[in-house]
């Protein structure tokens, strides 16, 4: 996966994205016990273009395709890993700003913090997301005050 991360870091170096962080299942996997998942969700912040109504990721995909990476359904296969780029909304953008800086086999990257991952999972609210949230509480340390503040700010409710 280090090759995949290198390619994503290149997108940032080339200015195709402003910033990014790993989220979704792989983001969760960083903190909790390994579980089966298939794609690498990359939340991205693009250059600010306030007048644009439609967000266009063609520059990113054109660049990746020029390097020989191919589509597989909704994902683009980068060095053997199906990657989905998700343009960050307000919550996710704040998550990216506060993401944990980590290294994977020496390659720098960022992973959303557990509090932001939990908030995103709760907002999505599928059964499998809620299961992950419960595992976060069982298996890792959560800053509950930080989580409460995020949930309050973004009006996310957790109904158990």
């Amino acid at each position: 996966m280090e090759k995949t991360i290198k390619v994503i870091n290149e997108l940032k170096k080339k200015g195709l994205i402003n910033d990014y962080a790993i989220g979704g299942g792989i983001g969760a996997l960083f903190y909790i016990e390994p579980f089966l998942t298939y794609d690498l969700d990359i939340f991205v912040v693009l250059k600010e273009e306030p007048d644009k109504v439609i967000i266009d990721l063609s520059n990113i995909y054109n660049y990746l395709q020029s390097k020989g990476y191919k589509w597989k359904g909704e994902h683009i296969l980068i060095e053997g890993v199906p990657v989905q780029f998700i343009v960050a909304d307000e919550l996710e953008e704040e998550g990216i700003k506060n993401a944990k800086k980590v290294r994977y086999k020496g390659i720098p990257t960022k992973v959303l913090s557990p509090e932001y991952l939990i908030a995103i999972f709760l907002r999505t609210g599928r059964k499998k997301d809620i299961e992950k949230v419960e595992r976060f509480f069982e298996e890792t340390k959560i800053n509950k005050r930080k989580l409460r503040n995020i949930l309050k700010k973004f009006n996310i409710k957790w109904v158990k």
Binding site: M1, L29, I32, E33, E139
Partner: protein, 66 residues
Amino acid sequence: MGKMSKEIKICINGKVIKREDIFKRKDIFHKEQAKLPFEKKIEILVTLQKIARNVKGKKGIVWKIE
């Protein structure tokens, strides 16, 4: 007093273990797995994907990162 409130002990491979200790050990195991390095977790993930593909057939995706 019902049967469930009694302390149940189980003999496994010559060792006597309290039933509740089995669950405590499982809990500790899951917490330890959560603390594994990211790289190790990705290795486990690929193994899980291979297992899932064997169960599901050719449709399962396995990351080609080795």
